[in-house]
């Protein structure tokens, strides 16, 4: 199963390399703008933190850690394919049919489709570099256990975002036209947070780690991993727990929607956005 998945990811990576080599100018422009966009997004909170030395209980280095964590999550999400971000379009435009005629389980097709590892490595590199840099001044005890927790948290954040986008994207099963762009709207809603949410009222914090779980993409897992003041001993498991719950919900909604799709099919088709 894993070997087959890797094989398909390899096919996506080859297509990615081929596109980059053929459209060098475009690829460079894309990478540079992506780099500037991500760096620019990180700059404001870092400058604020450096100017005041901290934001709430977060020292400047912890802010950098949180932003680096968020950057790694978003670059991995982008590299892993555009299925979560364009699910509603694919369903709404009848393009899911193209996936269903492939002799692969649908989860594998969705997981591997659009894999573009070479588009996002600069952003990922910034994320990893800043994360590594921030750990030193923060005096984080980097043990195998802590690194394992970091890996689990990153994976959980990716699952949370994917599940959130899938759950919303599945609306297109029931309203192909009306909800065609819901994935785009949902991805705007769950964008990573740039500032710590600690000063935010408690009720809003709860919303931002549940209904709109932006806080789970960097803020809450970073706070738990760095054991900042106000962190409970079990907080580091909140993001993985949310990933399990949201993941299960997304799978259930998707299966329900797919059953409907099998029954009703898609009566509209547009190739727009399909394998460009």
């Amino acid at each position: 199963m894993a070997a087959e998945t890797l094989r398909l990811l390899g096919a996506g990576a080859r297509m990615n390399v081929a596109r980059i080599l053929r459209t060098r100018g475009q690829a460079i422009a894309h990478t540079v703008t992506d780099f500037i966009w991500h760096s620019g997004g990180m700059l404001a909170p870092i400058l604020v933190a450096v100017r005041f030395g901290h934001i709430g209980p977060w020292p400047a280095e912890a802010i950098v850690f949180m932003l680096a964590y968020g950057t790694i999550v978003s670059s991995l999400m982008d590299a892993l394919g555009d299925s979560p971000f364009s699910l509603s379009r694919r369903i709404g435009r009848g393009q899911l049919d193209h996936f269903l005629v492939q002799p692969q389980p649908l989860w594998r097709t969705l997981f591997t489709d659009g894999f573009t590892p070479f588009d996002f490595w600069p952003t990922l590199t910034i994320g990893i570099a800043l994360l590594v840099w921030s750990i030193g001044p923060l005096r984080v005890p980097v043990t195998m256990g802590w690194l394992g927790l970091l890996g689990v948290s990153l994976l959980a954040s990716i699952v949370v975002q994917t599940a959130f986008l899938y759950a919303w994207g599945c609306l297109a099963f029931w309203a192909p036209r009306g909800a065609e762009e819901v994935s785009t709207a949902a991805s705007g809603l769950i964008g990573e947070v740039s500032f710590p949410l600690d000063p935010v009222p408690r009720a809003l914090q709860v919303v931002l780690v549940s209904a709109v779980p932006s806080g789970l993409l960097s803020w809450l897992p970073s706070r738990a991993l760095l054991r900042l003041p106000g962190t409970g001993p079990m907080d580091v498991w909140l993001t993985p727990l949310a990933a399990v719950v949201l993941g299960a919900l997304a799978v259930a909604v998707f299966r329900l929607g797919l059953r409907r799709y099998r029954r009703t099919g898609s009566r509209r088709y547009s190739d727009h956005g399909h394998r460009r």
Binding site: A11, M15, L100, V101, P103, R262
Partner: protein
């Protein structure tokens, strides 16, 4: 001979939401949505033998594409059973779709911004096609469809005919046992259409690939010399050969004449169908009433300004056939 495709008592219907055009109606619809049931397939029984070529024809909305979607594992029937290559296309989708090829005329499997060759390499990986099978089937497909001239061109730069040939060749890679072609000649010019139809015939004749092809273009399907299944409102109205169909239907045509009078002249051997001003339309069977005789009769009875004959539209032919059988 083994059965490649079998549909037994297949029913498929869809819900359609009805909407009002007036504001009050829209509010009413909001409070109490109205739906109607559209029957796409109504008790279809069909068996296709391995190596057979079946032309699946019917008017728009007759249920052709729904059948292809059922057979491609994209849709499940409401009632009845669908079996192809001995399996249920929906339940055994992964195993099944690796052994079939599907081409939808208005869709493409090609990667838009990549050369045609890249999509073939991608398919080889995703379909997990063994090296020897890939080499053999690719060589056959490239020669059969003549795709070498645009093998390295980006898909977005292909003409519609080239795209269709590439899509068809792509479906042949991996040596599928059944090929489902949904309107593969739609929008193609005469020459390319001929090439595509020739390729389909060769494929069926030389490789014994079972082919199910849909179209509402009867002359195209007739060229394939296939068994023809005619659908009308979701039911099979005819299943047999073209020769038998022609014998039953005759050569149904339309004669449109423009005269200097709004009164349509009565023409022996033709049935008046409609008039619009001084333009009059008649239905006739060209075998029973030869065209020259009918034109002579028209010229004798009216002052002709313009004359035009047309083959009766397939929708009308099918409807007539269906009416004939219902009345029989």
């Amino acid at each position: 001979m083994a059965t490649a495709v079998e549909l037994r008592g297949v029913h498929k219907s869809f819900d359609r939401r009805l909407r009002s055009a007036t504001f009050a109606g829209l509010l009413r619809d909001l409070a109490r949505p109205r739906h109607e049931t559209v029957t796409a397939l109504c008790g279809i029984d069909l068996a296709v033998e391995a190596g057979e070529m079946v032309a699946y024809a019917g008017a728009n909305g007759a249920g052709k594409s729904t059948t292809i979607k059922l057979l491609a594992g994209l849709l499940a029937p409401d009632a009845g059973s669908v079996r192809a290559l001995g399996v249920d296309p929906v339940r055994d989708r992964v195993r099944y779709v690796g052994r079939i090829g599907v081409v939808f005329g208005q869709r493409t499997e090609l990667w838009w911004d990549h050369p045609v060759s890249a999509t073939f390499a991608w398919r080889r990986t995703v379909w997990n096609i063994p090296d020897d099978v890939y080499r053999r089937s690719l060589a056959f497909a490239r020669e059969l469809l003549g795709i070498d001239p645009f093998w390295s061109a980006p898909a977005r730069e292909l003409s519609l005919g080239q795209r269709m040939r590439a899509d068809l060749a792509l479906a042949l890679v991996g040596e599928p046992r059944i090929l489902f072609l949904d309107e593969p000649t739609i929008g193609l010019d005469v020459l390319v259409k001929q090439e595509v139809l020739d390729a389909i015939r060769t494929l069926n004749r030389e490789r014994a690939v079972t082919v199910m092809i849909t179209s509402h273009d009867m002359p195209d399907l007739e060229q394939l010399r296939a068994r023809i299944v005619l659908l009308n409102r979701g039911a099979i109205a005819y299943d047999g050969s073209f020769e038998e169909l022609r014998r039953r239907l005759g050569d149904r045509r339309r004669l449109v004449i423009e005269t200097d009078s709004a009164a349509a002249p009565a023409l022996p051997g033709a049935r008046w169908a409609a008039s619009e001003g001084t333009r009059h339309e008649y239905a006739f069977d060209a075998i029973v009433t030869p065209i020259p005789r009918l034109l002579a009769a028209a010229a004798a009875r009216a002052r002709l300004v313009d004359v035009e004959t047309q083959r009766a539209p397939i929708e009308e032919v099918i409807a007539d056939l269906y009416r004939d059988w219902r009345d029989a």
